[in-house]
């Protein structure tokens, strides 16, 4: 893949736009710019493209989605406009899922509302009824937020017509919800997932199931105010118009970026891999190009960084090109490593006695956290600089549905782990406290957690890749290995994301833009930041998108 993507002969040095980083947002931005007729160069430090949306062969004959692992949030507009299905992207929805309980019971998950309602009723009749109200209310919030994802947030301190118009648009949409719903929305955006769920459900297992998405990738516990929003953030996707549905990308998450790259190259774009950017070059206070680690320079009047804000401004730009106050705010931007990942090659499908034979429960996301308290305690461990002793895990075996991921009869398992700190409190004498011993101990904690629900699990393990936040940072480039390029807290959303006053993809340096998940509307393989950034660039260049 590497060679086929790189241009080798007499490389062109001057482009209309350069994008630093071939993550999914960088590629989305690149596609839209190329589509508008610009000559675009994408530079990727790694020897492969994809950023955190990659498929990698780290064990013979197995394909790992070794960072992001499922797909839902990718905006359908982007799918359509960039013709990703034609370029090979195929999303297969989950067929089920489950949360296993410590007492041997389980809550099965179905994508069908009525089936899930019946299953919830098995745990609590009242909760089954509340589930109707819950899904209605959550969907209403989704409907409110969704159109905002693909727009640049207004600056509430600005008197520019565009900002005022955009504020009025927001106010109008908000007003359109009606009085009661407006209050609900205020509460929803600010409350904790635990309090939010308490207003609907009584059964611990039901609450624990729904609370899961409120903490994924987030350095907060389900009792922290603001986590109800994070829960929603994970609901905003839709596959084939099934709102909130999640699915597997056939061939692993690399298929998403592979399709984006194909779309980009069809539009005439250029990608260089193994091309780490050392510096964003400026002249007379505006961006003019980049210099690679090997000294090569490329020039463009527009440079767009797909990297997170800390990496962009603290490591790739010269401090003297940036205002002190801006740099202070960049340093204060919260990007916290709180998630780990295990990628496991299995010799067969693990037995899970709690799940009825033949049920689709293993053909989607599986969890083992059966109370909110367990989740909150997992967070308490992280606060003190330890990985959770009883972590929240989101595990999937995509090879059951996508046979390209593993050889016949064998399986690939992706295990997302919350919480795991970037820096260990009592770790090894390394930069972050992580070393091989610590990493193995972390992996063992996760494997033991799974083995408690699956007696033959350990015997089936052929290979396990254990990834701490530090590993993710070093490989993918995400600061602290944070999957969202910055916490999704109230102080870092909308017009505050990433830095107040710089929420419109521009930076203090003219010609330099941001398009990563550090910007609105944040992370997940959604593509909205890349799309919005491209629109901003084209607008500034007075070109239509």
């Amino acid at each position: 893949m590497t060679a086929s993507l790189s241009t080798t002969a007499a490389p062109q040095r001057r482009f209309d736009a350069i994008i630093v980083g071939a993550g999914h947002n960088g590629l989305v931005a690149a596609c839209y710019l190329a589509k508008a007729g610009l000559s675009v160069l994408v530079l990727e430090r790694n020897d492969y493209i994809g950023g955190a949306a990659v498929s990698r062969q780290l064990y013979p004959e197995f394909t790992y989605s070794n960072c992001s692992y499922v797909c839902s949030l990718l905006r359908p507009e982007i799918m359509r406009e960039l013709e990703l299905p034609r370029h090979g992207l195929q999303i297969i929805p989950y067929e089920g899922g489950c949360t296993m309980m410590r007492d041997g019971g389980h809550l099965a998950l179905y994508d069908n509302h009525d089936a899930l309602r019946r299953e919830i009723g098995r745990h609590s009749k009242r909760d089954a009824e509340a589930y109707d109200r819950y899904s209605r209310d959550v969907m209403r919030q989704c409907k409110f937020i969704k159109p905002l994802l693909m727009r640049s947030p207004p600056d509430p301190t600005s008197f520019k017509p565009r900002d005022i118009m955009e504020l009025l648009y927001l106010a109008k949409r908000f007003n359109g919800m009606g009085e009661e719903r407006m209050y609900d929305t205020i509460r929803f955006w600010t409350m904790s997932a635990a309090d939010f769920l308490d207003e609907y459900f009584e059964s611990e297992i039901v609450k624990a199931h729904f609370a899961g998405s409120s903490i994924i990738g987030t350095a907060l516990g389900p009792r922290s105010p603001g986590t109800a929003y994070v829960l929603l953030h994970h609901y905003m996707g839709d596959i084939d118009d099934a709102v909130g549905a999640w699915g597997f990308a056939r061939g692993g998450m690399g298929a998403v970026t592979k399709a984006l790259a194909a779309s980009f190259q069809e539009k005439g774009g250029t990608i260089h891999t193994g091309a780490g950017v050392e510096r964003i070059l400026t002249r007379n206070g505006r961006g003019v190009g980049v210099a690679l680690t090997d000294g090569t320079e490329f020039y463009a009047r527009t440079v767009i960084s797909n990297m997170d804000v800390k990496r962009t401004f603290l490591q790739t730009m010269d401090a003297k090109d940036l205002p002190d106050e801006f740099l202070r705010q960049v340093r204060n931007f919260k990007i916290r490593g709180s998630s780990g990942k295990l990628n496991i090659a299995l010799d067969g499908l693990p037995e899970v006695p709690a799940i009825p034979k033949g049920a689709p429960c293993t053909r989607g996301d599986m969890h083992v956290t059966d109370t909110i308290e367990m989740m909150e305690r997992a967070y308490d461990d992280w606060k003190d600089g330890f990985w959770s002793r009883a972590p929240y895990i989101d595990m999937l075996i995509p090879s059951q549905i996508d046979p390209t991921m593993a050889p016949d009869g064998k399986h690939y398992m992706s295990v997302f782990v919350q919480y795991c700190p970037y820096r260990l409190a009592n770790g090894a004498p390394t930069e972050t406290g992580w070393d091989d011993t610590q990493r193995k101990a972390f992996g063992d904690t996760v494997i033991d957690t799974i083995a408690r629900h699956s007696p033959n699990f350990k015997d089936l393990i052929l290979h396990a890749e254990i990834r701490t936040p530090w590993d993710i940072e070093r490989e993918v480039g995400l600061t602290e290995g944070n999957i969202f390029q910055g916490e999704l807290t109230m102080d870092q959303l909308l017009f505050n994301r990433p830095i107040p006053g710089y929420a419109q993809y521009r930076t203090p340096v003219k010609g330099v833009y941001m398009c990563g998940s550090s910007t609105h509307p944040g992370g997940g393989v959604m593509g909205a930041p890349g799309h919005n950034a491209a629109r901003q660039v084209l607008g500034d260049l007075r070109l239509a998108a």
Partner: protein, 514 residues
């Protein structure tokens, strides 16, 4: 029955008294009904051991709004202070406490502190007009609601771009991160972070705790500046002055007259029934009781629609703060603390993590194994509260969850010992001075002060229970969904702390309706 009164005020807490005084001053015939034999609700001075008295719930006055003091002539009615602005000392495990006015442990902190507090006060002051207004309703065409929203936007906008951006950024943040952004000394960060969570159900890492800090600072700004002061005779003196002011304006006060039920006829509150069975009619009823008590017990859910009842049930109202009172044989010595500081606030919150760990327990129904404390020795400034030469120690203790696993009957003595040991560590020899001790848990506060849940704000102070959603949508403008019934307690906007705004805002709303 003929209405002898225009308004009945249920409960003679400070907000009930403020509300009554404003209504009476406007010429209304007002009756205040108080269940207990003393006035003031949680703003009270009472004996807790022979010869020793204490401000049994709230113990400092730093937020009482100066315009209310002026409007009601409270100085004329006997409100006097025995302290100037009280210093705050952050006690340290190593016996080297730091005064917040001069946080000298680190040169960088000493540099950063004045700019930080100046900016925080500027931001907080922009919230003061919001605390002093009835929250506007959203989505109505009413001019008054639009004016309210504009006023709110204006008070933030006039900060100027830089401060406005900072306000919009930090208001949703947690105190932990804010302190980490500005300071390096653990002791300073711990003390400032504790002030942010004092009286809340949060730890310093909980988002929204900058809001609670700004809330507190805004209230202080309205009280004439950042300061805590001690009224002569304890917090009961505030209640006494308010009662005098209310009576002087023509209000009538009845003690030991517990309201059993609010009378409703044709969907309108027309008076109350007392526990004695006596019925008292009035044009309208305003309750300073907490929302649970008001709606679920005094009014009854049968008069409300189910959606509203559900909202009230979900109003989080369980307290996490306890109150410790010690009768002491003499003045304790705190390690490293100059005796001149003993009349101030002494905080045990040596680091942000200390406070967060204290909070961790509360999440699971346990009391803190190492609690965080705000300690005062009120007798240093006001010897009249104890026999000559003796002293009183009064402390707010966090965290003590209302729903303690195993119950407070079993846990109270053990927790009291933990709290005393925590203080003893900073004041060696304290234990030998103790003549009597009392710990009021949220369950005791509920019983004694008739606040369901024992929360001094009558309900969590958090974004989702603040301003136009406090206590719940449908009752956030002081007006209940039942005509003729109003709220004026801490459960209404802007919340608790002895500041008087809920009472004053409610009175304004009622007079506007009349």
């Amino acid at each position: 029955m003929a209405a002898r009164y225009d308004h009945i005020v249920v409960g003679a807490g400070h907000n009930g008294l403020v509300c009554a005084a404003y209504l009476a001053k406007a010429g209304k015939r007002v009756l205040i009904l108080e269940a207990s034999d003393r006035l003031g609700g949680a703003s009270v001075t009472r004996d807790f051991a022979a010869g020793f008295s204490v401000s049994a719930c709230a113990h400092l006055l730093g937020q009482f709004q100066s315009d209310i003091v002026r409007d009601l002539g409270l100085a004329r009615h006997g409100l006097r202070f025995v302290s100037g602005p009280m210093p705050t000392a952050a006690l340290s495990p190593d016996g080297r406490p730091v005064l917040l006015s001069a946080p000298g442990r680190s040169a960088a902190d000493a540099d950063a502190y004045p700019a930080f507090t100046a900016r925080m006060h500027r931001l907080a002051r922009s919230l003061l007009p919001i605390l002093g207004m009835a929250p506007p309703r959203l989505g109505t065409d009413a001019w008054s609601d639009r004016r309210g929203l504009l006023r709110m936007a204006w008070s933030v906008r006039r900060l100027g771009r830089t401060d406005m951006r900072e306000l919009l950024r930090i208001i949703g943040m947690n105190a932990y991160d804010l302190m980490e952004e500005h300071f390096e000394s653990a002791l300073l960060k711990g003390a400032l972070g504790f002030d942010a969570v004092l009286g809340t159900n949060f730890g310093p890492r909980s988002p929204g705790t900058v809001l609670t800090l700004l809330y507190r600072m805004a209230a202080e700004a309205g009280a004439g500046g950042p300061r805590a002061v001690q009224p002569e005779g304890g917090m009961g003196a505030v209640a006494d002055a308010l009662a005098k002011a209310a009576r002087a304006a023509g209000a009538e006060i009845r003690r030991e007259a517990p309201v059993e039920r609010i009378l409703v006829k044709d969907d309108r509150a027309i008076g109350v029934v007392l526990a004695s069975g006596e019925e008292v009619a009035a044009g309208s009823v305003v309750s300073s009781a907490d929302p649970h008590t008001t709606f679920m017990r005094l009014l009854g859910p049968e008069h409300l629609d189910t959606g509203f009842v559900r909202r009230i049930k979900h109003f989080r109202h369980k307290g996490l703060a306890a109150k410790l009172h010690l009768a002491l044989d003499g003045l304790p010595a705190f390690s490293g603390l100059d005796p001149s500081t003993l009349g101030g606030r002494l905080l045990i919150a040596p680091s942000l993590d200390y406070v967060e760990h204290a909070y961790n327990h509360a999440k699971y129904g346990e009391y803190s194994k190492a609690p965080a404390l705000e300690i005062t020795l009120p007798t240093v400034n006001d010897p009249s509260l104890a026999p000559a030469g003796k002293h009183v120690l009064s402390a707010v203790v966090q965290y003590a969850p209302y729903d303690l696993a195993g119950g407070w009957e079993a846990g109270r003595e053990r927790f009291t010992d933990i709290v005393i040991d925590t203080i003893e560590h900073h004041a060696p020899g304290l234990r030998s001075l103790i003549q009597a001790r009392e710990l009021l848990t949220p369950v005791d506060i509920e019983r004694e002060f008739r606040i369901a849940g024992g929360h001094w704000h009558h309900g969590d102070l958090a974004f989702d229970q603040f301003f136009m959603v406090r206590p719940v949508p449908g009752a956030a403008q002081y007006r209940a969904p039942v005509a003729g019934l109003y709220l004026c307690g801490a459960g209404a906007h802007p919340g608790g702390g002895v500041m008087g705004l809920a009472g004053r805002n409610a009175a304004a709303k009622m007079l506007e309706a009349a």
